[in-house]
Each structure stands twice: as structure tokens, then as C-alpha cells.
């Protein structure tokens, strides 16, 4: 007879089944969620319990699976990230480190795990590092440190620049720091090459102006030489007459006829005129020649082959050189006034890049003046360039009477590729390169003061000596 009433289990049976279920749960304690309970029971409450236990086990298994997958996914993102990513605990001990981070410093990931983060820093930085961590720890975990440039230490001992951003999170193991790093070595090298390229490019751009500058003296040297040539032909007639006269004197028989002939030649010539004009024609030619020579010299100076290590050089010379090669760029819109401190000490610097900085400032000044000059007027503005020295630095000021820099763009003018100029006139690299050269390559500073409608002064400060 079919009965829907399940036979009642006795308590021994039930105890056995309960223990069986508990066993399955023990498996779960060990993290084994794969085993589902198969309790052979006719007791419906026990079936219900088994079902719920399995449901919980299965849900836990899925959650663990999903977590593992997410972790694997995160790990692969970390591992394939181009950025170096590492985490450290509040004691500064490295907890995780992706391949890119390890490679950046010349290690295998295992070699840095559980070691102090200071091993990746130069000693000078490591000394103050703990203090910075303490300061961060004192702040809420939401505070992060935006990317900035710092010096790192390669396993080989080589120091190299990286960009470093730090964020923190509160975890069950306490504060955890995440550092995201990018090696800047290559970028710096590119910047350097870019600057060098720009310098060569500007020599190219200046070439037309320079050709013009050379053309003017060359032309009047030519005029003067033609003038001297003409004069010389007349002088030759006089000299021939002189020669004849001298011959007669030598024979001891000077005749009146001969004297008359000489006097006629002399009077027929413009000897007086030539005597007056020759010296200045010669002088002018020499000056013209000197002018050409100095432009050629300046060009050579300006495109100074890139030296990687600083050399002693005169900032005053650099100013003169640059003003000379760029003359054609400013002479139609401005007078350039130089106030160069004659006592200015030489500084340790990279002359080529520094010339480029001065050129960029002078050209910007000329453009700013051009903007405020009425069209087709003979009026000109002024570019005032001065140098002065302090106890351990020198200062260069380039002032213009141009349009000024409006307040709303003041904090962007140093950004790469920021320009307000039309296509072809500016690419927005001038000041970015100037800053790179002055600040990054020389440890100096560059700033400006500006008043719209009155003009701008760029101030460059350079240390006398370069730190090694």
C-alpha cells in the first residue's frame, strides 16, 4: 500500500544524519565547498535541512569562486600593467609587487617581498621617508599623494627619476599603501632630444633672418670695395706719373716739361677726395667684415654641440650670442637694451640649452610686443635684458613692453603645447622647454611677473654650481 507518510526515523538514525551533515560543514571549514551533502534520509525535516545546508555551501562556493576569479583578474591586470604597482603596509614593508615594478628596479618580485620599501630609494630620501609615512598615517585614509617626480634607486645603485603616486586604504591588516610608479628615464631623454631638436630647428628658422643680417654688411663691403677699386685706378695714374718723375730724378735730369705733366695728372685726379674717403671706406669694410664674422661666431656658439655635463660659461656671452643670432626676429618691433653685469661670474651650465632658453624668451617678448604695435608703424617696443649676481646664483631678466599675460592663462603657459598663437607661429613648447632646461637640468627657477597691457618680465635664476 502506497503511503505518503514517510517512516519516522529513530533518534539514533537522526543523530547519525546530523553528524553526517556536520561533517560536510567541517569540510567547508577547511575551505572545501565542492562537496555537497548527500544525506540518505526519509525524514522530511532532515531533507529540508540538507537542502538548506547545501544551498549555503553552494552559495559560499560560488562566492569563493567569484572572489578567486576577481582576484585572478585583478592580478593579471596588475601583472600586465605597464605601470609599476606595489603595496606596502604601515611599517613600510613591501606586500605585493608587480612585474613592472620589480623590473623597473632591477629585481625579481620575490626579491623585494617582505622587505622595507626604503631599499628602493637613495639613502638621502630613505632617511626622511619614515617621517613622511608617519605624516600620511596621521591623515585619513582618503588622503592620497598625487603623482610627482622622485629619485629612485636601481638594484645596481644607479639613481633614476620616477613618477610616483601614492594612495592608501584601511584594511583588516591596518593601513595599506599603494604606489603607482613610472620610470621617467626614457621620457627625460626624449625631452632632452626634443630640446636639442628644437634648438637645431630654431637655427633653421633663424637662418633666413641670419642670411638677411649677413647680407647687409656683405653688400656694403662690396660697395666699398668697388669704390676703393675705382679710386685705386685713378691712384694708379698718379702713381705712374710719380714713377716717371722718380726715374727722371734718378737720372739727374728733371725737366720742366715733366714737372708740368705730373702737376696736370695730379690736378686732374680727385686725389684729395680719395684721401679723405679711403680711410672710412676701409674702416666700414673692416667693421662689416667683423659684423659677419661675429654673426658666424654667434651661430656657431648658439648651436653649441650638446654637452651632457655642465661646463663653466658666461651667461652674458650667451645673451649676446642669442641676441645677435635672433636680431632679425626682433629688430622690426623692438630695441633690445642689454644691462649685463660686467662682474657676473661664470656659471656651471649647459650652454646650448641655455641659449635656447634665452632665445625662447626673446622671441616670446618680440611676439608680445608685435601684438600691441599698431600695424605698419615705425614705432617700436623695448626688450630689456639684464643679468645680475647673488651669493650663489645668477639672475637673468627678460622684460618686454608687450601685451602681458592674462591672469586666466598664467598657470598654463609652462604646460607643453599650450599656445595662444596661430598655427605656424607657435607650438607651445618654448616655455615648457625653458622650464625643463632651467629647473630640471640646472636646478634653477623660472618665473614671471606680468601686467596686461604693460608687459612681462621673465626671471630665470641659475645656481653658480651644479650638484653632482
Amino acid at each position: 500500500m502506497a503511503s505518503t507518510h514517510a517512516p519516522r526515523c529513530d533518534s539514533a538514525d537522526l543523530r547519525r544524519q546530523i553528524n553526517e551533515l556536520a561533517d560536510y560543514l567541517c569540510g567547508a571549514v577547511q575551505g572545501n565547498f565542492d562537496l555537497l551533502a548527500v544525506v540518505d534520509t526519509e525524514d522530511e525535516d532532515m531533507q529540508k535541512l540538507t537542502m538548506m545546508v547545501n544551498f549555503v555551501l553552494e552559495s559560499a562556493r560560488r562566492a569563493v569562486c567569484e572572489l578567486q576569479q576577481r582576484e585572478a583578474c585583478l592580478r593579471s591586470v596588475l601583472e600586465t600593467a605597464a605601470e609599476g604597482i606595489l603595496t606596502a603596509n604601515s611599517d613600510g614593508i613591501i606586500q605585493t609587487c608587480n612585474r613592472a615594478a620589480a623590473a623597473m628596479f632591477g629585481y625579481e618580485p620575490e626579491e623585494v617581498l617582505d622587505r622595507p620599501i626604503e631599499m628602493l630609494m637613495p639613502d638621502a630620501v630613505a632617511l626622511t621617508h619614515r617621517m613622511q609615512v608617519e605624516r600620511l598615517l596621521a591623515q585619513p585614509a582618503t588622503v592620497s599623494v598625487p603623482a610627482r617626480e622622485v629619485t629612485a634607486r636601481h638594484q645596481s645603485g644607479r639613481l633614476f627619476p620616477i613618477s610616483l603616486a601614492v594612495s592608501q586604504a584601511e584594511t583588516r591588516q591596518g593601513r595599506m599603501f599603494t604606489a603607482i610608479m613610472r620610470d621617467l628615464t626614457e621620457e627625460k631623454r626624449m625631452q632632452c632630444e626634443l630640446a636639442q631638436a628644437q634648438r637645431l630647428e630654431s637655427v633653421g628658422q633663424l637662418a633666413a633672418g641670419i642670411a638677411h643680417e649677413i647680407n647687409t654688411p656683405t653688400q656694403f663691403i662690396g660697395d666699398n670695395l668697388r669704390f676703393l677699386h675705382e679710386g685705386f685706378q685713378e691712384l694708379q695714374a698718379i702713381m705712374a706719373a710719380c714713377g716717371r718723375l722718380v726715374e727722371a730724378i734718378d737720372k739727374g735730369a728733371v725737366q720742366a716739361e715733366q714737372l708740368r705733366d705730373f702737376a696736370a695728372t695730379w690736378r686732374g685726379s680727385e686725389a684729395d677726395y680719395w684721401r679723405r674717403e679711403f680711410p672710412s671706406a676701409i674702416q666700414q669694410s673692416l667693421e662689416g667684415n667683423e659684423r659677419v664674422a661675429s654673426i658666424v661666431r654667434a651661430m656657431k656658439e648658439f648651436s653649441h654641440p650638446g654637452v651632457d655635463t655642465p661646463v663653466l660659461a658666461s651667461l652674458n656671452d650667451a645673451v649676446r650670442t642669442t641676441v645677435t643670432v635672433s636680431r632679425n626676429e626682433w629688430k622690426y618691433v623692438a630695441e633690445v637694451e642689454l644691462h649685463l653685469d660686467p662682474e657676473l661670474p661664470e656659471i656651471e651650465c649647459l650652454p646650448g640649452p641655455l641659449n635656447q632658453v634665452i632665445l625662447n624668451l626673446v622671441i616670446n617678448a618680440a611676439h608680445a610686443i608685435e601684438k600691441v604695435l599698431p600695424r605698419a608703424s615705425a614705432e617700436k617696443g623695448t626688450i630689456h635684458i639684464s643679468t645680475s649676481s647673488g651669493p650663489d646664483s645668477v639672475e637673468l631678466r627678460v622684460s618686454d613692453s608687450g601685451c602681458g599675460i592674462p591672469p586666466e592663462i598664467r598657470d598654463r603657459v609652462f604646460d607643453p603645447f599650450f599656445t595662444t598663437k596661430e598655427v605656424g607661429k607657435g607650438t607651445g613648447q618654448g616655455l615648457a622647454i625653458a622650464r625643463n632646461v632651467v629647473v630640471d637640468k640646472h636646478g634653477g627657477s623660472i618665473s614671471f611677473e606680468s601686467e596686461v597691457g604693460r608687459g612681462t618680465t621673465f626671471v630665470v635664476r641659475l645656481p653658480l654650481k651644479q650638484r653632482q
Binding site: M1, A2, S3, E42, Q47, N54, E58
Partner: protein, 188 residues
């Protein structure tokens, strides 16, 4: 089909017509007389279909009547057996939203892993305020039972609902679409 359902059907037959009818139904359906449907075990859908057809036949019930009777019986049993799920819901709207999860708990909770996938996702719901669209896909074609159960649940919570089947496999659709709209919720 999870054993709870045929288990309850046999109980219903026994209470309505006695143990002899249970035996007759099993015999007509070609199911061994000693079959005990475990709440957490899984049986072939065809077995259930044979069982259900034999029960209707021997009790002389049309589909509508059978569904209504079974729904009534089923809800009484569920209330007694799983009171917690009913307490967790303030009204029938919340209960019907929870229903697919309850079913998935059964599917997930049965130890036969292979059967799980088949059981899962028979029901999918899209809920809007005061409205629920239920998509039901199953070879057992028990959409009528769904409607009756939903009405019983609404009555249990003291709510007023309108129930309509928008699409049905019995009309040639590839799934059933049931719309539940609440005119009144007693709580919430």
C-alpha cells in the same frame, strides 16, 4: 522536478481520496508503489507529468480545478514548512519577488549538481512598482498553477491583485509571460 512537488501531490491525493487512490495513481503513471519523493531530490520531469495526468484522471479533475486544489494545498504546506520565508515578506509583492530565489535555493540545494542547471532559471521576473512581469519556461507547463498560487499568496497577505497571462506556451509562444498587478497592498 524537485521531489517536494510530487510529494505534496501524493499527500493531497491521500487526504482527498485515501491511500488506495495514491496507489492507483502511481500504478497508472507506471511509477513503483514504494516511491518516496524526497523534498531535496530530483526526479525526471516526465515522471511528474505522468503522475499529474494520472491524478487528474483518477480524481476526475479538469486542469483548472486540479491547479486550484493543488495551489491551496501547496500554500498551506509551504506556510507550515517554510514560515520564515513568509515572515520575511511584508506583502505578496515581496513574496512573489522572492519566489524565483526560493526556487533557485531548491535547485542549488539539491545534491545532484547536473540537475541544478535545468531547475535554475525557470522563473525570471521584472519588477516595477506595484507590477511584476514573470517569464516562465518549463516543459511542465504549470503557468496556470503559478496564477492560482499567486492568488492564494495575495489572499494570504490580504492584498488585491489582477493576474493576466500575456503569452503562453499553450498558445504557441516559446515561454509564458504572466503579469501581476497590485490594486492594493495591505502592508507597505
Amino acid at each position: 522536478m524537485v521531489g517536494l512537488i510530487p510529494n505534496l501531490l501524493l499527500k493531497l491525493i491521500e487526504s482527498a481520496a485515501g491511500p488506495e487512490t495514491v496507489a492507483a495513481v502511481l500504478r497508472q503513471a507506471g511509477i513503483p508503489l514504494e516511491r518516496r519523493y524526497g523534498l531535496n531530490r530530483v526526479y525526471p520531469d516526465e515522471e511528474w507529468q505522468r503522475l499529474y495526468a494520472a491524478a487528474r484522471d483518477l480524481l476526475g479533475l479538469d486542469e483548472d480545478r486540479a491547479e486550484a486544489m493543488f495551489a491551496e494545498f501547496f500554500v498551506q504546506d509551504a506556510l507550515a514548512r517554510f514560515p520564515r520565508w513568509f515572515q520575511m515578506c511584508r506583502n505578496s509583492y515581496e513574496m512573489l519577488c522572492l519566489q524565483p530565489k526560493i526556487h533557485n535555493a531548491f535547485a542549488t540545494g539539491c545534491s545532484a549538481a547536473a540537475a541544478r542547471r535545468v531547475l535554475n532559471d525557470k522563473f525570471r521576473t521584472v519588477s516595477e512598482p506595484h507590477r511584476l512581469i514573470v517569464e516562465y519556461r518549463s516543459p511542465n507547463r504549470l503557468c496556470g498553477l503559478y496564477v492560482k498560487l499567486a492568488r492564494c499568496i495575495a489572499t494570504h497577505y490580504g492584498d488585491e491583485v489582477d493576474l493576466a497571462e500575456r503569452e503562453c506556451v499553450k498558445w504557441g509562444a516559446n515561454r509564458c509571460l504572466i503579469e501581476v498587478a497590485w490594486r492594493r497592498l495591505l502592508h507597505g
